[in-house]
Every structure is written in C-alpha cells, then in structure tokens.
Symmetry: C2
Subunit: 220 residues, 2 copies
DNA sequence: TCGGAAGCCGAGGACCCCCTCCGGTGCCCG
DNA sequence: CGGGCACCGGAGGGGGTCCTCGGCTTCCGA
C-alpha cells in the first residue's frame, strides 16, 4: 500500500468522524455483498445515514471503500488458504484450497466480483490478486507433480473456474445457495489425472488471462 | 405466439415504416450482440437513426425487439441442434449438441444472456426455452442410457454449464474468443461415465433451476 | 472556555435511461 | 391528386448515478 493510499483511507482523529466512517463501512459491506462491486455509492451513504459528501471525504474512490469493506473477507479467505496449503496430501490440499475459495466467494457478491476482476490502477488489489495466483500455482503444481491432477491444466483454467463459479453463485445464491459445490466437485472429476482426454484448445496465455480480468472491470 | 403478440410485432404496411423497422432490427442486433440484453434502447434508436418514439411504436417492449433481433440466432441454434440430435453415436450427439449451443452463445452476447434467463411473462420465449430443455434432456438421457455419460447428471447441471460458459464468454470474448471450447472439453471429461466419483451435493430441483433463471433476469 | 480546523451536508451540474404523448408529416388509396 | 390516417419526431417528466464545492457545524486542544 503506497503512502498516499494509507493517507486516503486512514482512520480520522475526531470521534464523530470515526463513527461515520464505521457506519459507512458497515453499510458498504451489506450493499457490496448483496449487489456486487457496482453497488450505488449514494445508496450506501443513504443506508449509513450519512451525506454523500461525507462518503467521498472518507473514501475518495470506490476502490477505497471496497477494500475497506472487503477486508474481513480477504482475511477470511487468506486464513482458509493457509490451512489448505498446509495439508500434506497434494490432492487434498488442492480440493481444500478451491473449496475454501469458493465458499468465501459464495458468501459475498462483492468479493465474488472482486475475485474475477483486475484493477490495474491499484497496487493494493494487484497485490492480493498476485498472492492468490501464486497460491493457486503452488497448490496446482504440487498436485500435478504428485500425479493427482492432470498435467495439461493451467492457472488460467482455475481462473476460468472461478469465473464460472461466480456466475453460478449469481444465479443460485437465493434459490440454491449450495449449488456451487456440486459444480465444483463435478469439475474436480475433470481435473483428476486419470480422467484426462486430449483437449482440442490450448490454454489461455497469461496476457490473455490478465486482459480478460481487466475487461470484466471496464466493460459496459 | 399469442394473437396480441403477433399483432404487436407485425410488419407494418407502409414502405417507410417497414424500412425503419428494418433499420431498428439491424441496430438492435448489433447492440444486443455487443452489450447483452440490457443494451440501451435509446442508443439502439440513435444507431438506427430513428426517433425513440418510433422504436416504441414498432416494439412496445424490450422483449419484442429482442426476439426480433435474436430470431436469426435462434434459428441458427435450432438448425445446429437438429443436426446434432440426428447423430447416431449418443456421446457424439451429446458433445455435438453442446458444442453447437456454445458456439452460437459465444457469438452473441444477447443470445448468451437470453439462454441463461427466463422471462416468465412471455409465451414466446418460454416456448424456446422449453424446447431447448427438452432437447438437452433428450440428448443427455440417451447418452446416459448408452453408458457414455455418468448417471448422476441432470438437466440442471447442463444449465449450470450454460451459465458458466456464459461468464467465460463475457470475460474472454475480446481477448481469447475460443477459450470457451477448452472449458467445455474439460467439463466433458467430468461428464464421462468412467470419470464418475460421488458428488457430495444433490442436483438442483426443477423449481430451483427455474427460479434461478428468473432471478437472473430480475436482479438489480 | 473558545476559536480554528476537521468534518459534514446536500444542492446541483452533468450524464444516462425508460417511456409517453401529441402536434406535425408524408405515404397510399380511392 | 388530394385527404385521411398511419406514422414519425423529440421534448419532457420521472428515475438514477457520479462527484464537486462551499457554507455551516461540531469537536477538541490549548
């Protein structure tokens, strides 16, 4: 996090300001969780019972507020990741990692959107994404070396699965909130080394993957 | 199609009106294809060089215009479906059906959105969706009876795959336009009977599935 | 206690979208 | 060729969103 970003989102000195900042974060968590990253800032201010100008005073950009709101989710996710990465069995670690990731993703539409996109302007979010990619690469490679996961799978394929899962969640969150698990376990059967059949399409390159993630945050 | 719907979207008598109607459909095809079913109607009118009031005169509801615009896509899809359904080999028919579906889906964001959603108000769209579900059920059951596709797969799982694929396409259409094929062939390995491992989550019920599709068209 | 600075409010400009309504236009048929 | 009616245009009302800015309030430290 750069100095200017720390400056932008620091906790203010005055009591009343701290209180309002807190109310904003709580409202933002609710709204982002329910409506995704593109939730209305004016609505969040209204929900927090705070004027729109005050929201902008505390969080000059949408990303500032989003990061403050998602912080607990990110921590929850990273905690679960760490546990998964410590599992000895490579296949178990792989499964556990994805299950944790998707569980957190399913609980918060904002986090869901956040996972699928890249925000090239922000060091902070790039850092989180890079860390996640590193972890996936880790757990995936280990499972492949152990012969548990087929060799022709790439980081990009896992990100594709994250996108897919995100869409599943959007569709089913209110009607069948656990449906994503079925889709995940189905896909796991495709990842098993013994299931492998040749795929008539090469994996996405890193650049293609990155551009696609940026695309999701700029389209429309 | 009910009488009132035929009435609403019939081709007008006057030359100039026919001409404008045609321009509207062409612009709508471009816009829906590029921006999905929520494309701006005012923008479509602008692109067609027609006043907004005229658009509403020809197409009283968004769905009227959407159906007129998607008509070629729907036909393209149904033609391909028919060919796939006639393939003797049950697994081949199954693969071919999905490949055709996804190919058309990938070429048009409006059709992509349309496939994932249900519009309970419209007989016409319900008819198309019902027909598609019937076909999927057909090709799926046949492949299962032949022992090619695992028995624990449901229509709902295929619809889940359609959602997933839709998201893939949204993400990759500009950067890796064929990436969806990779994801499809990966998933096919999960569908193979010999790949089956127990799934710790039951399939969605028909009602859950229907509600989820409606949810996608009403959310936000 | 009290004044200055930190902080708050919300009107308002700039966009965007949906949809209606009705005065005016121009096609086509008799 | 002329009148009637199908048709067209586009202003305008009603909503929303983002974000700014300057007058007003409130806290808190000296």
């Amino acid at each position: 996090m750069s100095a200017s970003e720390i400056e932008r989102t620091r906790v203010p000195r005055r009591r009343d300001a701290q209180e309002r900042r807190h109310r904003l974060i709580v409202a933002a968590q609710r709204e982002f969780a329910a409506r995704g990253v593109d939730a209305s800032l004016e609505r969040i201010a209204r929900e927090a019972d705070v004027a729109i100008g005050t929201l902008y005073r505390h969080f000059p950009t949408r990303l500032d507020l989003l990061l403050a709101a998602l912080e607990p989710r990110v921590r929850e996710f990273l905690d679960g990741s760490e546990k998964a990465l410590q599992i000895d069995d490579p296949w178990g670690a792989f499964v556990s990692y994805l299950e944790n990731l998707f569980r957190v993703q399913a609980g918060d539409r904002g986090f869901n959107d956040f996972l699928s996109r890249r925000f090239p302007g922000s060091e902070e979010t790039e850092r989180i994404h890079d860390e996640m990619c590193r972890q996936i690469d880790d757990v995936l490679t280990r499972a492949q070396k152990a012969g548990a996961v087929r060799a022709d799978i790439t980081l990009a394929d896992i990100v594709n699965l994250i996108w897919s899962n995100g869409r599943m969640i959007d569709a089913t969150s209110t009607t069948a909130p656990n449906a994503w698990r079925r889709q995940l376990f189905l896909m796991l059967d495709a990842y098993r080394a013994e299931a492998a059949h040749a795929i008539p399409e090469p994996p996405m390159s890193e650049k293609q993957l990155y551009d696609a993630m940026v695309h999701l945050s700029t389209a429309d």
